[in-house]
């Protein structure tokens, strides 16, 4: 081990961690102001319980030697995860780096269910999902599982992160159902600058996601880093051209989306392809997502923030094109179609289909099981009111007009029932009782 590798991986871990708050801004800007905090919290909250569950059990299931389908519990509770070398870096650092991937993947799913899923149900869902879906899929590809054995290429998580999250998102959107206003009223982004800020920070963090996936600070990291610059650049350029050719205007929300799509497309290929291939891949990756977004909005599928179009199609396109553009001269071994190994394309297609199927089926099972013990959706009148007030007892943009300070002893419910609770009648009153005692 040398300190250059360790230094780069420490930094990469912090960069990937920043992507989750960045996602919160990206998603938060796209919803209505009454749901801004709830949407941002769906990403932020993954930083807590998901990271803890990852350290206690998820990491072991994903990365300890075990069955081809799933790891064992030998690293549970971080037993045996210390300063010994795991490749070029300490095992503990490898665990932390992988943890940041486990955090953002379930957060990506939230884009499909914003503005109507109950926060408590969402929390339970992502904790179960990271253990039951993310950990095994990560094991298949990166932990010595069966997709690694058949030679599937996934440099930084096209299938493990993006196809996986998007398949879950599709199923979640179908199980939870569309928003009441979907297709009836215009639902517009309340803060496009937030979305652009989020896209910018995601790109910045993604240098850690892709170049960090080299797991050392060498030439592979350099290649992945460069491709993370050029791939999304080409997607943004292609997206802009499609906008103009179609006679429309070049939109800011479109540009922010293009950047994310480009990042997703280049992710599985980042360390395997030439920089010129990254440009070609990035450009090719624009069209499927572009037209899927337009088509999706005309359907009854309320995948509200287009997780399927951006991460599903982008991830699948990237994973399959990795089988086309991988070159031994750049990857140091892995070869695709243009390097005389056409069978790699089929391997890539198979890996996408397997991940998609498992993630979709398992997500369906988790949600249906949760529905037996708790409602997944908030009440219709709370959906109208907005989840910020209904589920969090806060507002994103309040001027404090008409806010009356509640004396501390009453807000904690000490000294008998608060007056409001006794006369509880209206919807707003139920909320008042629910939010009492929250911090």
């Amino acid at each position: 081990m040398n300190n250059a590798d360790i230094g780069w991986m420490l930094l990469s871990t912090a960069l990937v961690l920043l992507m989750t708050p960045a996602l919160a801004f990206f998603y938060g800007g796209l919803v209505r102001s009454k749901n801004a905090l709830n949407t941002m919290m769906m990403s932020f909250v993954a930083l807590g319980p998901v990271a803890v569950v990852w350290a206690l059990i998820g990491y072991s299931l994903a990365f300890s030697p075990g069955h081809p389908a799933i790891g064992s519990l030998s690293f549970a509770g971080l037993r045996g995860v210390g300063m010994e070398a795991q490749g070029a870096i300490p095992h503990l650092l490898f665990m932390a780096f992988q943890g940041t991937f486990a955090i953002i993947t379930p957060a990506l799913i939230s884009g499909a269910v914003v503005e109507r899923m109950r926060f408590n149900a969402y929390l339970a869902f992502i904790v179960l999902w990271v253990v039951l879906v993310y950990a095994p899929v990560a094991h298949w590809v990166w932990g010595g599982g069966f997709l690694a054995s058949i030679g599937a290429l996934d440099f930084a998580g096209g299938a493990v992160v993006h196809v996986n999250a998007a398949s879950a998102a599709l199923v979640a959107a179908l199980v939870i159902g569309p928003r009441k206003d979907y297709g009836r009223h215009a639902i517009l982004p309340h803060n496009v600058p937030f979305t652009m800020l989020g896209a910018g920070l995601l790109w910045f963090g993604w240098f850690g996601f892709n170049a960090g996936s080299a797991l050392s600070a060498g030439t592979t990291a350099t290649l992945a880093f460069t491709n993370t610059l050029l791939g999304p650049a080409a997607t943004l350029a292609a997206w802009t051209m499609i906008d103009m050719v179609r006679g429309g205007t070049v939109t800011a929300v479109g540009a922010a989306t293009a950047i994310v799509v480009g990042l997703v497309v280049v992710t599985p290929a980042a360390g395997f392809i030439s920089p010129i291939s990254a440009i070609v891949m990035g450009a090719l990756g624009a069209a499927p997502s572009y037209f899927a977004l337009i088509y999706r909005a005309k359907t009854r599928l309320d995948d509200s923030l287009d997780v399927v179009a951006a991460h599903g199609l982008g991830g699948a396109t990237g994973a399959i094109l990795t089988g086309v553009f991988a070159q031994a001269a750049w990857s140091g071994g892995a070869r695709g179609l243009i390097d005389g190994h056409p069978a790699q394309v089929l391997t890539q297609v198979a890996s996408v289909l397997i991940v998609m199927t498992y993630s979709g089926a398992a997500t369906f099972g988790i949600l249906k099981a949760l529905a037996l013990v708790m409602p997944l959706r908030i009440a219709d009148r709370h959906e109208k009111l907005g989840l910020d007030v209904a589920n969090h007892g806060e507002e994103a943009y309040t001027h404090g007009d008409g806010a009356i300070l509640v004396p501390a002893h009453r807000s904690l419910g000490v000294g008998g029932k608060p007056k409001e609770a006794v006369s509880a009648q209206s919807a707003a009153d139920v909320i008042a009782v629910q939010s009492r005692g929250g911090a």
Partner: protein, 122 residues
């Protein structure tokens, strides 16, 4: 001629506008307001501070109409704004002394009669 002032829930605005346009009511002004109409306050918490939000977000519509449009306008607002919960708002009908259309100088009845169908903007 009457001035119809309605205070409604913001989340019902789209439904109300749809109903009004359906009833051929084509001229209106809205503003975002805050008010208290007997509904229970909800409590919000920011770190250690708990507050009762005594004022709720509302939308106020102002619509100048000729007499035979008063009832259709009221009906449209009722259809769009009613949820059945406390806090749905109020409709007030006020007499108007004079109306002038600025573009033409037309007055009163003529000023609130649309001269041509509203054309959609490309």
């Amino acid at each position: 001629m009457k001035l119809i002032v309605a205070v409604i829930r913001p989340e019902q605005l789209s439904d109300v506008l749809e109903a009004l346009f359906h009833a051929e009511v084509r001229g209106l002004t809205i503003s975002r307001v805050q008010g208290h109409g007997g509904e229970m306050e909800h409590v919000e918490n920011y770190r250690g501070t708990s507050v009762k939000m005594a004022l709720a977000e509302k939308v106020r519509l102002e619509i100048g109409v000729s007499n035979h449009f008063v009832q259709p306008t009221i009906d449209a607002i009722l259809a769009g704004a009613r949820t059945g919960e406390v806090g749905d708002g109020k409709i007030m009908v006020l007499p108007i002394e004079k109306i002038v259309r600025i573009r033409t100088g037309e007055e009163d009845q003529d000023a609130v009669t649309p001269v041509q169908p509203v054309e959609s903007i490309e």
